[in-house]
């Protein structure tokens, strides 16, 4: 289990290394990126992400055991980046490794859905001139 919340750029190779386990035939990775528009279709420049880091890490760590119990995952990985992220930049990577692919797909989907519901992380839309915080 690896859970990271911080400012450094995300790396798929790093995520994959953390999921390394020769007995897992399937690895699924999800990358979330900053989209070019807000929810009302207005053009964005960036999103500012912030987190209650201690509580976010705690919430995400609890998902590990849940994934192992529900899906039989061998390893899971969650990294969320915070700070100002420009359009197209990866904000989150979640991944799961399991002996079979169905479990890896289900676990990765579960991780990103639960992250959005349970991790105290927030984005604030940044436009060319003004600002607004969005709860999704």
């Amino acid at each position: 289990m690896t859970v990271l919340v911080g400012r450094r750029p995300l790396s798929l190779e790093r995520a994959y290394r953390h999921l390394g386990d020769a007995s897992s035939g399937g690895v699924v990775l999800f990358v979330g990126r900053v989209r070019p528009e807000d929810q009302r279709g207005r053009p964005l420049v960036a999103l500012d992400y912030e987190a209650d880091v201690r509580m976010a890490v705690g919430a995400l760590r609890r998902l590990e055991g849940e994934c192992a119990r529900r899906f039989g995952t061998r390893k899971v990985f969650v990294e969320h980046r915070i700070g100002r992220l420009r359009v197209g930049t990866a904000s989150v990577i979640v991944g799961a490794a399991a002996p079979h692919r169905a479990a890896a797909f289900q676990a990765a989907r579960f991780l990103i859905e639960c992250l959005k519901l349970e991790a105290p992380i927030w984005k604030t839309d940044r436009y060319r001139s003004n600002r607004r915080t969005v709860a999704r």
């Binding site: 979330g32 992400y49 912030e50 987190a51 209650d52 201690r54 509580m55 976010a56 705690g58 969320h80 904000s91 989150v92 990103i112 992250l115 959005k116 519901l117 349970e118 991790a119 105290p120 992380i121 927030w122 984005k123 604030t124 915080t133 969005v134 709860a135 999704r136």
Partner: protein, 85 residues
């Protein structure tokens, strides 16, 4: 009792107050979480509607009972609805 609380404000709560942390006095008579939220909302009117939809954590754990009495040195986090991912 007496002493101080540390309040951590995130996202819309931070924007409503203009600060990411507040140091808040704890009166001798004590304060419950509910009383703290009422006082914060009065001191920062723009914060009141955010508080009404936020989860409140004390020292890293969510409070389920707002009648919980607070203790000097407690760290209270205001968590508006999450939007990570």
């Amino acid at each position: 009792m007496a002493g101080r609380l540390r309040i951590l404000l995130f996202a819309t709560a931070r924007e409503a107050v203009g600060e990411s942390t507040l140091s808040w006095p704890l009166p001798r008579t004590g304060l419950t979480a509910r009383q703290l939220l009422d006082a914060l909302g009065k001191a920062h009117p723009k914060l009141a509607p955010v508080l009404s939809i936020s989860r409140i954590a004390r020292n890293g754990a969510y409070l389920t009972l707002l009648s919980t009495p607070l203790t000097s040195g407690d760290e209270i986090a205001i968590h508006p609805p999450f939007s990570g991912g």
